[in-house]
Symmetry: C2
Subunit: 208 residues, 2 copies
Protein backbone atom coordinates (compact mmCIF):
# COMPACT_ATOMS: atom_id res chain seq x y z
CA UNK A 1 0.00 0.00 0.00
CA UNK A 2 1.91 2.97 -1.26
CA UNK A 3 0.80 6.00 0.68
CA UNK A 4 2.61 8.76 -1.14
CA UNK A 5 3.05 7.69 -4.75
CA UNK A 6 5.20 10.64 -5.78
CA UNK A 7 6.79 11.14 -2.39
CA UNK A 8 7.84 14.75 -2.03
CA UNK A 9 10.94 13.68 -0.21
CA UNK A 10 12.09 11.25 -2.86
CA UNK A 11 11.60 13.87 -5.55
CA UNK A 12 13.36 16.49 -3.46
CA UNK A 13 16.35 14.23 -2.95
CA UNK A 14 16.48 13.49 -6.66
CA UNK A 15 16.38 17.16 -7.60
CA UNK A 16 18.96 18.11 -5.02
CA UNK A 17 21.24 15.33 -6.20
CA UNK A 18 20.84 16.44 -9.78
CA UNK A 19 21.80 19.99 -8.90
CA UNK A 20 24.87 18.93 -6.92
CA UNK A 21 26.03 16.32 -9.42
CA UNK A 22 25.80 18.91 -12.18
CA UNK A 23 27.86 21.35 -10.13
CA UNK A 24 30.58 19.09 -8.82
CA UNK A 25 30.27 15.64 -10.35
CA UNK A 26 29.86 12.26 -8.72
CA UNK A 27 33.06 12.03 -6.70
CA UNK A 28 32.81 15.40 -4.97
CA UNK A 29 29.15 15.03 -4.03
CA UNK A 30 28.43 13.01 -0.87
CA UNK A 31 25.11 11.57 0.18
CA UNK A 32 25.66 13.45 3.41
CA UNK A 33 25.74 16.73 1.51
CA UNK A 34 22.75 15.83 -0.63
CA UNK A 35 20.76 15.20 2.55
CA UNK A 36 22.00 18.41 4.14
CA UNK A 37 21.05 20.53 1.11
CA UNK A 38 17.74 18.74 0.74
CA UNK A 39 17.14 19.28 4.43
CA UNK A 40 16.52 15.66 5.30
CA UNK A 41 18.21 12.85 7.19
CA UNK A 42 21.16 11.22 5.43
CA UNK A 43 19.69 7.74 5.80
CA UNK A 44 16.71 8.81 3.71
CA UNK A 45 18.93 9.15 0.67
CA UNK A 46 19.78 5.48 1.03
CA UNK A 47 16.24 4.54 2.00
CA UNK A 48 14.93 5.80 -1.33
CA UNK A 49 17.88 5.00 -3.60
CA UNK A 50 19.86 2.41 -1.66
CA UNK A 51 23.22 3.44 -3.09
CA UNK A 52 24.80 6.68 -4.25
CA UNK A 53 25.55 4.95 -7.54
CA UNK A 54 21.83 4.20 -8.02
CA UNK A 55 20.91 7.77 -7.29
CA UNK A 56 23.54 8.98 -9.73
CA UNK A 57 22.35 6.65 -12.46
CA UNK A 58 18.81 7.96 -11.98
CA UNK A 59 19.97 11.39 -13.08
CA UNK A 60 22.85 10.45 -15.35
CA UNK A 61 21.16 8.37 -18.01
CA UNK A 62 18.47 11.01 -18.39
CA UNK A 63 21.18 13.63 -18.85
CA UNK A 64 23.11 11.62 -21.42
CA UNK A 65 19.95 11.10 -23.41
CA UNK A 66 19.19 14.81 -23.22
CA UNK A 67 22.71 15.55 -24.38
CA UNK A 68 22.50 13.18 -27.33
CA UNK A 69 18.99 14.06 -28.44
CA UNK A 70 19.89 17.74 -28.41
CA UNK A 71 21.17 17.06 -31.90
CA UNK A 72 17.91 15.62 -33.12
CA UNK A 73 16.22 17.33 -36.00
CA UNK A 74 12.76 18.68 -35.87
CA UNK A 75 11.38 17.72 -39.22
CA UNK A 76 10.70 20.81 -41.23
CA UNK A 77 10.02 19.89 -44.82
CA UNK A 78 10.60 22.32 -47.61
CA UNK A 79 13.57 24.23 -46.22
CA UNK A 80 17.08 24.08 -47.57
CA UNK A 81 19.82 21.92 -46.09
CA UNK A 82 21.62 25.03 -44.87
CA UNK A 83 18.53 26.28 -43.10
CA UNK A 84 17.92 22.87 -41.58
CA UNK A 85 21.49 22.73 -40.34
CA UNK A 86 21.22 26.23 -38.96
CA UNK A 87 18.14 25.19 -36.99
CA UNK A 88 19.89 22.10 -35.71
CA UNK A 89 22.91 24.06 -34.52
CA UNK A 90 20.69 26.60 -32.81
CA UNK A 91 18.48 23.99 -31.20
CA UNK A 92 21.53 22.16 -29.88
CA UNK A 93 22.96 25.42 -28.64
CA UNK A 94 19.71 26.34 -26.90
CA UNK A 95 19.50 22.94 -25.24
CA UNK A 96 22.99 23.52 -23.82
CA UNK A 97 22.08 27.04 -22.84
CA UNK A 98 19.15 25.66 -20.83
CA UNK A 99 21.42 22.99 -19.31
CA UNK A 100 24.83 24.61 -19.04
CA UNK A 101 26.18 22.04 -16.57
CA UNK A 102 25.34 19.15 -18.85
CA UNK A 103 28.57 18.85 -20.86
CA UNK A 104 30.74 18.96 -17.77
CA UNK A 105 28.77 16.19 -16.09
CA UNK A 106 28.61 13.94 -19.12
CA UNK A 107 32.24 14.26 -20.16
CA UNK A 108 33.59 14.22 -16.64
CA UNK A 109 31.81 11.02 -15.64
CA UNK A 110 32.37 9.24 -18.93
CA UNK A 111 36.09 9.99 -18.84
CA UNK A 112 36.73 9.15 -15.19
CA UNK A 113 34.51 6.08 -15.08
CA UNK A 114 35.00 3.70 -18.01
CA UNK A 115 32.43 1.33 -16.48
CA UNK A 116 29.68 3.89 -16.98
CA UNK A 117 30.83 4.34 -20.54
CA UNK A 118 30.74 0.64 -21.30
CA UNK A 119 27.29 0.33 -19.78
CA UNK A 120 26.17 3.19 -21.96
CA UNK A 121 27.25 1.43 -25.11
CA UNK A 122 24.55 -1.15 -24.48
CA UNK A 123 21.79 1.30 -23.65
CA UNK A 124 22.38 3.88 -26.32
CA UNK A 125 23.08 1.96 -29.48
CA UNK A 126 19.94 3.41 -31.02
CA UNK A 127 20.96 7.01 -30.53
CA UNK A 128 23.76 7.47 -33.08
CA UNK A 129 21.54 6.24 -35.86
CA UNK A 130 18.67 8.34 -34.62
CA UNK A 131 20.86 11.41 -34.58
CA UNK A 132 23.01 10.87 -37.64
CA UNK A 133 20.81 9.10 -40.10
CA UNK A 134 18.31 11.83 -41.00
CA UNK A 135 21.04 14.32 -41.82
CA UNK A 136 23.46 11.91 -43.43
CA UNK A 137 21.52 11.33 -46.65
CA UNK A 138 20.90 15.01 -47.18
CA UNK A 139 24.52 15.90 -46.59
CA UNK A 140 25.60 13.37 -49.19
CA UNK A 141 23.17 14.77 -51.72
CA UNK A 142 24.57 18.26 -51.24
CA UNK A 143 28.12 16.97 -51.60
CA UNK A 144 27.19 15.11 -54.77
CA UNK A 145 25.67 18.29 -56.15
CA UNK A 146 28.92 20.09 -55.37
CA UNK A 147 27.27 22.52 -52.96
CA UNK A 148 29.29 21.31 -50.01
CA UNK A 149 32.89 20.14 -49.87
CA UNK A 150 33.40 16.44 -49.17
CA UNK A 151 33.07 15.47 -45.52
CA UNK A 152 31.39 12.83 -43.41
CA UNK A 153 28.37 13.33 -41.19
CA UNK A 154 30.65 12.54 -38.24
CA UNK A 155 32.87 15.46 -39.16
CA UNK A 156 29.92 17.78 -39.32
CA UNK A 157 28.40 16.65 -36.02
CA UNK A 158 31.74 16.77 -34.24
CA UNK A 159 32.25 20.33 -35.40
CA UNK A 160 28.80 21.38 -34.21
CA UNK A 161 29.26 19.71 -30.85
CA UNK A 162 32.79 21.06 -30.40
CA UNK A 163 31.83 24.66 -31.00
CA UNK A 164 28.62 24.56 -29.00
CA UNK A 165 29.81 22.48 -26.07
CA UNK A 166 33.13 24.14 -25.48
CA UNK A 167 31.50 27.50 -24.93
CA UNK A 168 29.54 26.15 -22.00
CA UNK A 169 32.49 24.26 -20.59
CA UNK A 170 34.70 27.31 -20.84
CA UNK A 171 32.37 30.15 -19.91
CA UNK A 172 32.39 29.56 -16.14
CA UNK A 173 36.16 29.81 -16.45
CA UNK A 174 36.06 32.99 -18.54
CA UNK A 175 33.65 34.41 -16.07
CA UNK A 176 36.17 34.29 -13.26
CA UNK A 177 39.40 34.67 -15.23
CA UNK A 178 38.19 37.73 -17.13
CA UNK A 179 35.98 38.88 -14.25
CA UNK A 180 32.85 39.08 -16.37
CA UNK A 181 29.44 39.77 -14.87
CA UNK A 182 26.28 37.84 -15.74
CA UNK A 183 25.34 40.37 -18.37
CA UNK A 184 28.67 40.08 -20.16
CA UNK A 185 28.44 36.29 -20.15
CA UNK A 186 24.92 36.47 -21.54
CA UNK A 187 26.15 38.78 -24.29
CA UNK A 188 28.98 36.38 -25.12
CA UNK A 189 26.55 33.48 -25.34
CA UNK A 190 24.12 35.31 -27.61
CA UNK A 191 27.02 36.35 -29.80
CA UNK A 192 28.52 32.86 -30.05
CA UNK A 193 25.15 31.35 -30.93
CA UNK A 194 25.27 33.35 -34.16
CA UNK A 195 29.01 32.96 -34.60
CA UNK A 196 28.91 29.16 -34.41
CA UNK A 197 26.28 29.04 -37.15
CA UNK A 198 28.36 31.34 -39.33
CA UNK A 199 31.55 29.35 -38.78
CA UNK A 200 29.91 26.05 -39.64
CA UNK A 201 27.96 27.24 -42.67
CA UNK A 202 31.03 28.96 -44.09
CA UNK A 203 33.18 25.93 -43.42
CA UNK A 204 30.91 23.79 -45.60
CA UNK A 205 31.51 25.81 -48.72
CA UNK A 206 33.02 24.03 -51.65
CA UNK A 207 35.87 25.97 -53.26
CA UNK A 208 35.77 23.69 -56.28
Amino acid sequence: MIINPDSNTEQLILETAEKLFLEKGFALTSTTEIARVAGCNQALVHYYFRTKENLFNSVFEKKVRLFATGLLQVDQPGISFEQKLKHMIEAHFDMLSANPGLPFLVFNELITNPERLKKLRGNMLDLPKLVFFPLKAELEVEIAKGNIRPMTIYDLILTVVSLNVMLFIASPIFKILADLNEEAIEKLIVHRRQENVTIILQSLKNNI
Copy 2:
Protein backbone atom coordinates in the same frame (compact mmCIF):
# COMPACT_ATOMS: atom_id res chain seq x y z
CA MET B 1 73.36 18.89 3.95
CA ILE B 2 71.22 17.70 1.13
CA ILE B 3 72.37 14.26 0.15
CA ASN B 4 70.28 13.58 -2.90
CA PRO B 5 69.56 16.90 -4.59
CA ASP B 6 67.18 15.50 -7.17
CA SER B 7 65.87 12.66 -5.04
CA ASN B 8 64.72 9.81 -7.25
CA THR B 9 61.85 9.15 -4.93
CA GLU B 10 60.53 12.70 -4.93
CA GLN B 11 60.69 12.79 -8.72
CA LEU B 12 59.03 9.38 -8.96
CA ILE B 13 56.18 10.49 -6.72
CA LEU B 14 55.72 13.64 -8.76
CA GLU B 15 55.61 11.74 -12.03
CA THR B 16 53.25 9.12 -10.68
CA ALA B 17 50.98 11.81 -9.29
CA GLU B 18 50.99 13.61 -12.63
CA LYS B 19 49.99 10.44 -14.44
CA LEU B 20 47.17 9.64 -12.03
CA PHE B 21 45.86 13.22 -11.79
CA LEU B 22 45.72 13.37 -15.59
CA GLU B 23 43.78 10.11 -15.71
CA LYS B 24 41.29 10.67 -12.92
CA GLY B 25 41.59 14.18 -11.58
CA PHE B 26 42.28 15.40 -8.07
CA ALA B 27 39.27 13.98 -6.20
CA LEU B 28 39.58 10.41 -7.42
CA THR B 29 43.32 10.15 -6.84
CA SER B 30 44.42 9.36 -3.27
CA THR B 31 47.88 9.76 -1.83
CA THR B 32 47.57 6.10 -0.87
CA GLU B 33 47.19 5.16 -4.51
CA ILE B 34 49.99 7.44 -5.63
CA ALA B 35 52.29 5.70 -3.16
CA ARG B 36 51.10 2.27 -4.23
CA VAL B 37 51.67 2.97 -7.93
CA ALA B 38 54.99 4.65 -7.22
CA GLY B 39 55.95 1.65 -5.07
CA CYS B 40 56.77 3.62 -1.95
CA ASN B 41 55.37 4.16 1.51
CA GLN B 42 52.34 6.42 1.71
CA ALA B 43 53.94 8.68 4.31
CA LEU B 44 56.65 9.54 1.81
CA VAL B 45 54.15 11.36 -0.35
CA HIS B 46 53.47 13.64 2.59
CA TYR B 47 57.12 13.79 3.61
CA TYR B 48 58.05 15.32 0.27
CA PHE B 49 54.95 17.37 -0.48
CA ARG B 50 53.27 17.71 2.93
CA THR B 51 49.74 17.86 1.51
CA LYS B 52 47.94 16.34 -1.45
CA GLU B 53 46.95 19.87 -2.43
CA ASN B 54 50.63 20.90 -2.58
CA LEU B 55 51.46 17.91 -4.71
CA PHE B 56 48.58 18.68 -7.02
CA ASN B 57 49.58 22.31 -7.36
CA SER B 58 53.09 21.21 -8.29
CA VAL B 59 51.71 19.53 -11.39
CA PHE B 60 48.66 21.68 -12.05
CA GLU B 61 50.17 25.09 -12.53
CA LYS B 62 52.71 23.64 -14.94
CA LYS B 63 49.88 22.02 -16.90
CA VAL B 64 47.79 25.17 -17.05
CA ARG B 65 50.79 27.08 -18.34
CA LEU B 66 51.40 24.39 -20.93
CA PHE B 67 47.77 24.55 -21.94
CA ALA B 68 47.79 28.32 -22.30
CA THR B 69 51.16 28.64 -24.01
CA GLY B 70 50.12 26.03 -26.55
CA LEU B 71 48.54 28.94 -28.34
CA LEU B 72 51.73 30.97 -28.45
CA GLN B 73 53.07 31.93 -31.80
CA VAL B 74 56.46 31.02 -33.01
CA ASP B 75 57.55 34.15 -34.75
CA GLN B 76 57.93 33.47 -38.44
CA PRO B 77 58.30 36.73 -40.29
CA GLY B 78 57.37 37.04 -43.91
CA ILE B 79 54.49 34.57 -44.06
CA SER B 80 50.86 35.48 -44.55
CA PHE B 81 48.36 35.79 -41.74
CA GLU B 82 46.58 32.69 -42.97
CA GLN B 83 49.78 30.68 -42.92
CA LYS B 84 50.65 31.98 -39.48
CA LEU B 85 47.21 31.03 -38.21
CA LYS B 86 47.49 27.60 -39.79
CA HIS B 87 50.77 27.04 -37.97
CA MET B 88 49.27 28.21 -34.71
CA ILE B 89 46.30 25.86 -35.01
CA GLU B 90 48.57 22.96 -35.86
CA ALA B 91 51.03 23.74 -33.07
CA HIS B 92 48.17 23.91 -30.58
CA PHE B 93 46.74 20.69 -31.92
CA ASP B 94 50.10 18.95 -31.68
CA MET B 95 50.58 20.12 -28.11
CA LEU B 96 47.23 18.57 -27.23
CA SER B 97 48.08 15.45 -29.16
CA ALA B 98 51.23 15.08 -27.05
CA ASN B 99 49.23 15.78 -23.88
CA PRO B 100 45.79 14.32 -24.51
CA GLY B 101 44.81 14.29 -20.84
CA LEU B 102 45.53 17.98 -20.43
CA PRO B 103 42.13 19.49 -21.33
CA PHE B 104 40.27 17.11 -19.05
CA LEU B 105 42.50 17.93 -16.09
CA VAL B 106 42.44 21.67 -16.61
CA PHE B 107 38.72 22.03 -17.21
CA ASN B 108 37.71 19.51 -14.61
CA GLU B 109 39.71 21.10 -11.81
CA LEU B 110 38.91 24.67 -12.76
CA ILE B 111 35.19 23.94 -12.91
CA THR B 112 34.92 21.89 -9.72
CA ASN B 113 37.25 24.05 -7.65
CA PRO B 114 36.58 27.78 -7.93
CA GLU B 115 39.35 28.44 -5.41
CA ARG B 116 41.95 27.13 -7.84
CA LEU B 117 40.46 29.32 -10.53
CA LYS B 118 40.61 32.45 -8.40
CA LYS B 119 44.20 31.73 -7.44
CA LEU B 120 45.02 31.31 -11.09
CA ARG B 121 43.71 34.75 -11.92
CA GLY B 122 46.52 36.23 -9.89
CA ASN B 123 49.27 34.03 -11.32
CA MET B 124 48.34 34.10 -14.96
CA LEU B 125 47.41 37.67 -15.70
CA ASP B 126 50.34 37.91 -18.08
CA LEU B 127 49.23 34.99 -20.23
CA PRO B 128 46.19 36.39 -22.06
CA LYS B 129 48.21 39.33 -23.28
CA LEU B 130 51.10 37.08 -24.20
CA VAL B 131 48.80 34.81 -26.19
CA PHE B 132 46.40 37.31 -27.70
CA PHE B 133 48.43 40.39 -28.31
CA PRO B 134 50.73 39.25 -31.13
CA LEU B 135 47.84 37.99 -33.23
CA LYS B 136 45.37 40.70 -32.39
CA ALA B 137 47.03 43.49 -34.38
CA GLU B 138 47.46 41.34 -37.45
CA LEU B 139 43.88 40.15 -37.34
CA GLU B 140 42.66 43.72 -37.20
CA VAL B 141 44.79 44.67 -40.18
CA GLU B 142 43.31 41.84 -42.24
CA ILE B 143 39.81 42.85 -41.24
CA ALA B 144 40.48 46.48 -42.16
CA LYS B 145 41.77 45.31 -45.54
CA GLY B 146 38.53 43.36 -46.00
CA ASN B 147 40.30 40.01 -46.24
CA ILE B 148 38.63 38.66 -43.15
CA ARG B 149 35.09 39.20 -41.88
CA PRO B 150 34.80 41.27 -38.69
CA MET B 151 35.48 39.34 -35.51
CA THR B 152 37.46 39.74 -32.31
CA ILE B 153 40.65 37.92 -31.43
CA TYR B 154 38.71 36.24 -28.62
CA ASP B 155 36.29 34.79 -31.16
CA LEU B 156 39.13 33.40 -33.19
CA ILE B 157 40.99 31.88 -30.24
CA LEU B 158 37.82 30.39 -28.78
CA THR B 159 37.07 28.74 -32.11
CA VAL B 160 40.56 27.28 -32.36
CA VAL B 161 40.49 26.01 -28.78
CA SER B 162 36.97 24.62 -29.13
CA LEU B 163 37.73 22.56 -32.21
CA ASN B 164 41.10 21.33 -31.04
CA VAL B 165 40.28 20.62 -27.43
CA MET B 166 36.95 18.91 -27.90
CA LEU B 167 38.50 16.25 -30.08
CA PHE B 168 40.78 15.18 -27.25
CA ILE B 169 38.06 15.38 -24.64
CA ALA B 170 35.70 13.32 -26.80
CA SER B 171 38.01 10.79 -28.40
CA PRO B 172 38.36 8.47 -25.36
CA ILE B 173 34.56 8.39 -25.41
CA PHE B 174 34.35 7.67 -29.14
CA LYS B 175 36.92 5.00 -28.66
CA ILE B 176 34.66 2.98 -26.40
CA LEU B 177 31.26 4.02 -27.76
CA ALA B 178 32.15 3.29 -31.36
CA ASP B 179 34.57 0.51 -30.41
CA LEU B 180 37.49 2.02 -32.29
CA ASN B 181 40.98 0.58 -32.08
CA GLU B 182 44.14 2.66 -31.60
CA GLU B 183 44.72 2.85 -35.31
CA ALA B 184 41.26 4.18 -36.04
CA ILE B 185 41.64 6.82 -33.32
CA GLU B 186 45.00 7.84 -34.74
CA LYS B 187 43.45 8.16 -38.20
CA LEU B 188 40.64 10.29 -36.79
CA ILE B 189 43.17 12.58 -35.09
CA VAL B 190 45.29 13.02 -38.19
CA HIS B 191 42.17 13.78 -40.20
CA ARG B 192 40.78 16.30 -37.73
CA ARG B 193 44.11 18.14 -37.56
CA GLN B 194 43.63 19.05 -41.20
CA GLU B 195 39.89 19.48 -40.90
CA ASN B 196 40.15 22.00 -38.05
CA VAL B 197 42.51 24.14 -40.09
CA THR B 198 40.15 24.03 -43.06
CA ILE B 199 37.12 24.91 -40.97
CA ILE B 200 38.79 27.87 -39.34
CA LEU B 201 40.40 29.29 -42.46
CA GLN B 202 37.14 28.99 -44.40
CA SER B 203 35.18 30.55 -41.57
CA LEU B 204 37.32 33.69 -41.74
CA LYS B 205 36.37 34.50 -45.30
CA ASN B 206 34.66 37.77 -45.91
CA ASN B 207 31.62 37.48 -48.15
CA ILE B 208 31.51 41.23 -48.57
